[in-house]
């Protein structure tokens, strides 16, 4: 059985929950946790797609800010090591993909003339 319909259903549910979170967060939560958002409304429209996609992360940060439980210093610790690793992993992946991809190329049989397939034949 194909998993495509279940996958599409899952994405629809994900987006649906995200819409609920977006409504709650943009109408109420955002003013509580970010002073720069107070009195600013138009930009909220641009925030909606992001909430639809990563609403669990939004809920986590919202909760963290409400509870004031995050470490303040964490904000100023850039992720340098991870950056090197990400760049390295990407380069290796690309090298492998290009190598195996190009090795799998097949030659088009040049001596076979195309045949028009008739309907019903």
């Amino acid at each position: 059985m194909s998993i495509a319909p279940s996958l599409i259903f899952f994405l629809q549910v994900w987006g649906g929950v995200g819409a609920g979170v977006a409504l709650l967060f943009l109408a109420w939560g955002i003013d509580r946790i970010d002073e720069d958002a107070r009195g600013a409304y138009v930009f909220r429209v641009l925030i909606i797609p992001g909430i639809l996609l990563i609403w669990p992360l939004v809920l986590w940060r919202w909760w963290q800010l409400e509870a004031q439980s995050g470490r303040w210093l964490a904000r100023y610790q850039p992720v340098r090591r991870a950056h090197g690793l990400a760049a390295l992993a990407m380069s290796v992946a690309i090298a492998l993909i290009v190598f195996f991809g190009l090795s799998a190329r097949q030659d088009w049989p040049a001596d076979i003339a195309p045949v028009r397939v008739e309907t019903g034949s």
């Binding site: 194909s2 495509a4 319909p5 996958l7 599409i8 946790i33 970010d34 002073e35 720069d36 958002a37 107070r38 009195g39 600013a40 138009v42 930009f43 429209v45 641009l46 925030i47 797609p49 992001g50 639809l52 996609l53 990563i54 992360l57 939004v58 940060r61 800010l65 995050g70 303040w72 210093l73 964490a74 904000r75 100023y76 610790q77 850039p78 992720v79 340098r80 090591r81 991870a82 950056h83 090197g84 990400a86 760049a87 390295l88 992993a89 990407m90 380069s91 992946a93 690309i94 090298a95 993909i97 290009v98 195996f100 991809g101 190009l102 090795s103 799998a104 190329r105 097949q106 088009w108």
Partner: protein
């Protein structure tokens, strides 16, 4: 810098940047579609719909390649820093161009499917176990989802809300997306197309991105760490300081501190900008304010605060001069804490 959020921040420089970018995209598509319609080296004739799809696909690939080259180029040579300035608009534009490519594909290959086009796309080929004939479309779908996610979380609100390190980690998806796009191209169009131009564009572009990233990583790897002496970390000898500029040092925990010399006095702040963790220590002080080289946020080096009405803050550090060298205390003060500047007496003990 933000006081109250606005939908899109534009200023003359950004208009200029975006203008050049739009002209570039239009020129690319125009050349591809009208000047050299055979640029893709089509061995068999194709219809305009597919041609459009390929032009937008190639354009998105090229844009992504350029975007990914900007970061390491700016790290390798500071003259490329201005390109970094408005890279987010570039990224959002790329997501739109890639979505247009996907739209043409769905509208052509899956338009008359009895199922929804997306379902048709997911079910048309499921030979995931082989390289030749691999359903390369799924790699494109993955990359498009990543690009959409990055574009959708590109507003400054997200940076502040998620914090720059979390935001950056999320945006590392760009690397996965690029690898997927290369796979999408190599297992897709390049299986069939042997034209020099196309192969050079795709494989050459991918190689350039890899080489630049590896070079920047190699260069950054060798950065020296401050020498710890009695808990304080040595930054540099007093003679090494230049008025208006900073010396950056790495603390034992991996964080970086920028120690500035301003009007003969030393002040230390975190090297990571509150915006996107740009390197503040590479900025220059004008009127007590250091300007971040990435997007121009400003901070007073004596207290780590942005000038009113802005509200950004960075942590500060304690400094001392001893035995002809400058030291910082590795324990950061909470963001925005004022610290009295320390006079730099050359040769002080």
């Amino acid at each position: 810098m933000s006081v109250k959020y606005i939908p899109v921040q534009w200023n003359p420089n950004k208009w200029y940047y975006d203008g050049i970018m739009l002209v570039g995209v239009a020129a690319f598509l125009w050349v591809f579609l009208y000047i050299t319609p055979d640029a893709l080296g089509h061995e068999r004739p194709i219809n305009p719909q597919i041609h459009n799809a390929r032009a937008f696909g190639a354009c998105a690939f090229t844009m992504l390649t350029v975007i990914l080259c900007i970061g390491p180029l700016a790290r390798l040579d500071h003259r490329f820093l201005p390109l970094l300035y408005n890279r987010r608009h570039f990224g959002v534009m790329t997501a739109f161009v890639a979505a247009t490519h996907a739209g043409y594909i769905l509208d052509w290959y899956f338009a008359f499917s009895s199922r929804s086009p997306v379902q048709g796309l997911l079910e048309a080929n499921t030979s995931y176990g082989q390289i030749a004939g691999f359903p390369f479309e799924i790699l494109g779908v993955f990359a498009l989802i990543c690009l959409t996610l990055l574009a959708a979380t590109s507003h400054d609100f997200w940076l502040k809300f998620l914090t720059p390190p979390v935001w950056k980690r999320l945006h590392y998806l760009i690397y996965a997306a690029y690898a997927a796009v290369v796979g999408h191209v190599v297992l897709g169009i390049l299986q069939d197309d042997r034209g020099i131009g196309v192969n050079l564009l795709f494989i050459g572009g991918a190689a350039l991105v890899c080489v630049l990233h590896l070079a920047a990583w190699w260069q950054g790897r060798a950065e020296p760490m401050g020498i710890a002496a009695t808990g304080w970390v040595q930054v540099a000898p007093v003679d090494a300081f230049r008025e208006g500029f900073a010396k950056i040092t790495k603390l034992p925990d991996g964080d970086r501190v920028a120690v500035f010399l301003h009007e003969g006095q030393l002040s230390a702040i975190a090297n990571a900008c509150a915006h996107q963790n740009g390197p503040l220590g590479e900025g220059k002080i004008v009127d007590c304010l250091v300007t971040c080289p990435w997007h121009g946020f400003q901070y007073d080096v004596r207290n780590g605060q942005s000038p009113a009405p802005f509200t950004e803050k960075v942590p500060t550090y304690l400094v001392k001069v001893e035995g002809g060298a400058v030291f910082v205390n590795p324990a950061a003060n909470p963001p925005g804490t004022a610290v009295a500047p320390v006079p730099l007496e050359k040769g002080a003990t």
